[in-house]
Point group: C2
Chain length 240, copies 2
């Protein structure tokens, strides 16, 4: 399902066909607008890379090569359990950076999670040395990194809360509402299961229950929301 793409070093040594010209990508990255001129100058020269959907940026055990900033697309970071079950920890979207990476750069610890692009994704890698220099010398950059860190931590706590204390039904309804595009969600049940931290069979049964209540219609690779209101009410009901 997720095609291998360059293995462990994908983000560090990508095939050249995915390298882009060195350009002023900073202009298109609002999150970095607050950076001062010298910092911008040091960043502007870095090459950006385009990764196809399904590329593996890192796996558990990999060493951390540099600090990634996402320009466009989306990277999903998963925790993998013994039985092969996966749990989406968080997603990295444009202007954001990867906490696991920050963690690795600051503490020398290898990755314990797996990162896969969910769409075609453009990233800029900041090498370790430059990252550390910026952290020390560029207050705005530091703010940026710290803010990202804080946001993730908050997100992780929320995730823990949902996974530990909320029913699968609630999580599923919530996820469906949050991913509907014109009353339609394009995803296989296995994908949904991973996203909400459950198992495919369970998703299948819950969706079936929703369908019997007339809230959704299931198709191969998609779910149609026929009563988004009901789903939303369930999602907000905090049901344990």
């Amino acid at each position: 399902m997720t095609q291998e793409y360059g293995g462990a070093g994908a983000c560090a040594r990508p095939p050249s066909r995915y390298n882009r010209r060195m350009t002023d990508w900073l202009l298109h990255t609002p999150a970095l607008d607050t950076l001062d001129a010298p910092t911008r100058a040091r960043l502007a020269g870095l090459p950006q890379q385009t990764l196809p959907r399904g590329a593996v940026l890192f796996r558990p055990g990999d060493a951390v090569e540099g600090f990634a900033i996402v320009l466009s697309g989306r990277i999903e970071v998963f925790l993998t359990g013994a039985g092969g079950r996966e749990l989406l920890l968080y997603a990295v979207e444009p202007g954001q950076s990867c906490v696991q990476t920050t963690l690795g750069l600051l503490g020398e610890a290898p990755y314990s999670t797996e990162a896969i692009t969910a769409q075609e994704t453009e990233v800029v890698m900041i090498p370790r040395a430059l990252f550390r220099a910026l952290m020390d010398s560029a207050p705005a950059f530091r703010q940026l990194v710290f803010a990202a860190f804080a946001e993730r931590m908050g997100g992780m706590i929320q995730l823990m809360e949902r996974v530990s204390f909320q029913s699968v039904e609630c999580r599923l309804a919530s996820w469906l509402c949050g991913h509907a595009d014109g009353g339609r969600v394009q995803a296989t049940q296995a994908e949904i299961a991973t996203q909400i931290g459950s198992a495919r069979e369970v998703v299948s049964r819950r969706l079936d229950a929703f369908a019997r209540r007339g809230w959704v219609q299931t198709e191969r690779g998609a779910v149609v929301l026929t009563d988004p209101g009901a789903l939303r009410r369930l999602a907000l009901s905090e049901g344990g």
Copy 2:
């Protein structure tokens, strides 16, 4: 079980009987050894507070008053679910600081968790303004905060892994091994349940199973480990 102690503002406005003399507590805090002289000077004057066991430092919804550094004792931070079930997120021990607090100070977000002292605990509170100033001007302080942050994030990911992918039996065995004092663990089954993120009844049944295998003996408010080796093997078996 956890006596209320001054409520929301406990750490900000403690009863005066718990205030101590202003002293050079920095001398006894190895974690802060790397701080430069000016920073140490700014910190040395802060008062330390002593909180009894069971004091509530903050609850969900409280505003963040300042940055806490633990000198001695132990603070436990919990997530609370709908049914009143609680899950230990992490503990703050001497020389460490509270991430939730950092998060709140940086992002203005209120607490979503609950912090309770597990023993008599000495803390120093750094007011918000000083905290921000130090973050900007004292690289060593910044390093300290960042390192703590990174460590917590790693811990949270590990916790997520254990809670999501490991059996209660493994977690229980592991916890017992980690908390044995001379082959004996002093804790009620309800406490153990909270620590490993399960329910009291489940702990009761698992302990019973251990007892039938001759690995432990249960007493009122305590567990005696009669075969620590077996428990340790189970704890390390990564059983899903």
